[in-house]
Chain length 110, copies 2
């Protein structure tokens, strides 16, 4: 019987992707953006329990990963809005499959 | 303009699901199981960097959530094997969409 060396290791790209998308709060923030919440305060209001620190940190990571784009609106006062990039919008299919699974298997909170 | 109270909150079942599936290492362990690694040492060998403590903890959570089933094989010595339940196998579609996204958007590690 082959030893541990012969065990096929999981796809590193999948692993990087699931850790990125699955990081705490990231999935919820992505859905809030997909549902049109483009302002900081509106994203925060859409995700119960999300702190300012965590939202700021996750938005920075999502920007670095080119999943979210930050736009400064030259109004007075200046406004900042967040939009999904093409890479971010391509996560809609992942979100749909997680939603479908959750509606089948996860009970509504009491 | 409506205040924060009018912001539609994200689906709590989706949120619970993405936090469960997205927890660090969980996605990778699920794929190892889907690829037929049913023994503890084989799951560990399939996921680079995974520690014993983390694997044990994640398997316990996945069992509690009825996503993984633990079977004791009455051989000598006794063997323990892990299998996805129906709820776990239903995550294959989620894994497929994450894999497709990762192959399109995540570069292969150097």
């Amino acid at each position: 019987m082959g030893g541990m060396r012969d065990v096929h290791q999981i796809c590193p790209r999948f692993h990087a992707a699931i850790e990125l998308i699955g990081a705490r709060w990231t999935g919820a923030i992505l859905v809030a953006l997909m549902e049109g919440q483009n302002r900081y305060a509106l994203i925060k209001a859409a995700v119960p329990g999300l702190s300012d620190t965590m939202l700021a940190e996750r938005l920075r990571t999502l920007e670095t990963e080119d999943i979210v784009e930050r736009r400064v609106i030259a109004s007075s006062p200046v406004q900042v809005e967040y939009y999904l990039t093409a890479k971010g919008r391509d996560l809609e299919q992942v979100v749909k499959t997680v939603e479908a699974w959750s509606h089948k298997w996860i009970a509504l909170p009491a």
